[in-house]
């Protein structure tokens, strides 16, 4: 089809729309190409054509060398507009294929096309507020239900340990735990360094630089180690859980699983939750050691505190609970991160786009929950006096 070939010829030189009179009739001759390459320029002019008083209109297409659907539509639209103004319109000179195309495009009274759902901006704000509120409420309900489901599955699996998917469990322990060692190590050492630096500068002013060690020890063991690691793992593995399960939802793999009689909570969720609960405490332990190590190195370099002094001071600074207060939180955070990751993955529906959206949501939510829980733990421990 020649629709796009001859488009360069007419540009600028020949007048594409010629209006003339033939007796009583108003005649529009279109010359050259009437297709997607020229229609952008002609559309506005064709919309404004006005035959004035003439009651009969002829559209002459004999000099149109290429006509496509866009052109055919514009001819139809013009015809329709002039006819609804009470004029008689005839199309002449169209080649059979062109006439067929114009016929094909057809006529509809109302060509107003809605390309996307629209609403009033003010109304939209109200509507969105409402929708968001209800979405949050139903989210909270659903996540609680999911929590219950996982808890039941967990208890059942512990009663029947042979039903746990060990291969999957080990795989996820490697993915979420072993492979996270380098990043966790690096970040913890750096945090130790930062703490030592800041502490040293402030405490030196009082001649109390030795207490930098207390600062490092307590903050790393109680808070920073577990918090940093959890946040890193939420970003790294929680998001991966959502993306993995979400992709499986999109491909209907989860549906297939259910029809085969596999329980997604058991096959997909539980191994991930357990893997996270096993590995996060170990990672936190690693982070603690590395944080103390980084701090120690800086103490040696900046404050000339020897390793022996450092260890002695550390020994005096931390109580019997300091370490456990940090570590105890790890499985709880792990549970929350894995739960949220899997839950959001299960919420994926239909499109691949929702995988991306929910992955982001999962990371934000799990980090938020981790920090919230950390605050609650602080209150709890303060009341317990440890």
């Amino acid at each position: 089809m020649a629709a796009l070939q001859d488009s360069s010829r007419d540009s600028g030189t020949a007048e594409p729309l010629r209006v003339s009179r033939d007796g009583d009739a108003w005649v529009l001759s279109i010359v050259g190409a009437l297709d997607v390459s020229t229609i952008g320029r002609l559309d506005g002019r064709i919309r404004r054509l006005d035959p004035g008083e003439a009651r009969a209109v002829r559209i002459d297409l004999s000099q149109v060398d290429s006509l496509d659907t866009a052109g055919a539509w514009v001819v139809q639209r013009l015809t329709h507009r002039l006819e609804s103004g009470g004029r008689a319109v005839s199309i002449v000179g169209a080649k059979p294929t062109q006439a067929a195309l114009i016929e094909r495009v057809g006529r509809t009274e109302d060509r107003e096309t809605v390309i996307a759902p629209k609403s009033h901006p003010l109304l939209a704000v109200v509507q969105q507020t409402g929708e968001q509120t209800f979405a949050r409420i139903s989210d909270a309900k659903k996540i609680t239900a999911f929590f219950g489901l996982v808890a039941i599955t967990l208890v059942r699996s512990l009663a029947m340990p042979w039903r746990i998917r060990y291969v999957s469990l080990v795989h996820h322990m490697q993915q979420a735990g072993l492979n996270a060692i380098p990043i966790t190590t690096l970040l913890s050492v750096l945090i130790g360094v930062v703490l030592a630096y800041q502490g040293a500068f402030q405490l030196q002013r009082f001649g109390a630089e030795i207490f930098t060690v207390n600062l490092i020890g307590i903050s790393v063991l109680r808070e920073i180690g577990v918090l940093m690691t959890s946040i890193v793992i939420a970003g790294r593995s929680g998001s991966a859980f959502t993306a993995q399960i979400g992709t499986m939802k999109v491909n209907q793999e989860v549906d297939a699983m259910i029809t085969i009689g596999l329980d997604p909570a058991e096959v997909l969720v539980l191994p991930r939750v357990l893997a996270m609960m096993f590995t996060l405490p170990m990672l936190v332990f690693l982070a603690d050691i590395m944080g103390l190590f980084g701090g120690g190195v800086m103490c040696l370099l900046v404050l000339d505190i020897t390793p022996t002094q450092y260890l002695n001071q550390l020994h005096g600074a931390i109580g019997p609970w300091t370490f456990w207060v940090g570590i105890i939180k790890a499985p709880v955070f792990a549970f929350v991160i894995a739960m949220v990751g899997c839950y959001e993955g299960m919420q994926v529906s239909g499109s691949a786009e929702s995988v991306g959206k929910l992955t982001t949501k999962s990371v934000v939510e799990s980090i938020f929950l981790v920090i919230l829980l950390d605050a609650m733990f602080s209150v709890l421990f303060a009341n317990l006096g440890i």
């Binding site: 089809m1 629709a3 796009l4 952008g40 659907t69 094909r104 509809t108 060509r111 996307a116 691949a352």
Partner: protein
């Protein structure tokens, strides 16, 4: 430019790693014909389609589309050729974040300078042309059924009135009535828009109903001919294909 052949493949060879999919494959597609491509599952029909439209690299031979060797073209010239074909992927491949009408407008926005109002009208025209109702315009792909997604994908591939239409299993997964209607739709669009259609299909009914010629992928190459000619062919796969129970009933119907 004599463009009697809109697609010419010569000695094309494609492979993944060491697995050769096509070897010394020659294929000419004439202007204005509907070519059905058949072959066993895994014979490389989809790969052939992807190779022709440039999504897959061939390792030897050359492919000319509309008289142009795609490998030798500049980016701009290649874009120009791309305007002249439309592709319908197996599941529609609609952009999931856009509505159907917006999907249809994507090629228009990329390749033309039409005003938005006209694009809106045209999107509606195309969507009606492929037999979807107006209500479908503002819907998102995830809200459509498989058959509707195919129609919407067809509307998008027709957005710029292409000269060549590539279809990958357009009727797979449709009920027989919808499939027949889809065949009819493609045939009538082909007539009124004078398209050349390159259609991968498993559907013997489609082949009988709308294809002018059939290209059959066997032994890493194509055998091409009308249905009658291929039915006389002695190749065992072709024999089994056309003379098996399904082949017989389709022939009776066609």
């Amino acid at each position: 430019m004599a463009e009697d052949f809109v697609i010419r493949c010569k000695d094309v060879r494609t492979q993944f790693g060491t697995t050769v999919i096509h070897d010394n494959l020659d294929l000419d597609v004439q202007r204005g014909e509907v070519l059905g491509v058949v072959g066993a599952s895994g014979a490389g029909k989809s790969v052939l389609l992807r190779t022709i439209i440039g999504l897959n690299k061939h390792v030897a031979g050359n492919i000319e589309i509309l008289g142009q060797d795609m490998d030798r073209l500049s980016v701009k010239a290649r874009k120009h050729v791309q305007e002249r074909w439309g592709v319908l992927f197996q599941d529609g491949a609609l952009f999931s974040s856009l509505t159907v009408a917006q999907n249809v407008q994507v090629p228009m926005k990329e390749h033309t300078n039409m005003p938005q109002a006209l694009m809106n009208e045209l999107a509606g025209v195309k969507i009606e042309m492929v037999g979807l109702s107006r209500d479908a315009c503002a819907k998102y792909p995830s809200e459509l059924s498989g058959g509707m997604r195919k129609r919407a994908g067809l509307a998008r591939s027709l957005a710029l009135d292409p000269e060549i239409l590539f279809l990958d299993e357009p009727t797979a997964g449709l009920d027989p009535i919808s499939a027949a209607a889809f065949d009819e739709l493609i045939r009538s669009l082909q007539r009124s828009l004078q398209l050349t259609v390159f259609m991968v299909t498993h559907d013997l009914d489609s082949l009988a109903a709308i294809c002018d010629r059939i290209a059959c992928l066997v032994d890493k190459r194509v055998k091409i001919g009308t249905m009658q000619e291929l039915m006389q062919d002695q190749h065992p796969w072709l024999q089994a294909y056309f003379h098996g129970p399904r082949g017989r009933s389709a022939r009776k119907a066609g």
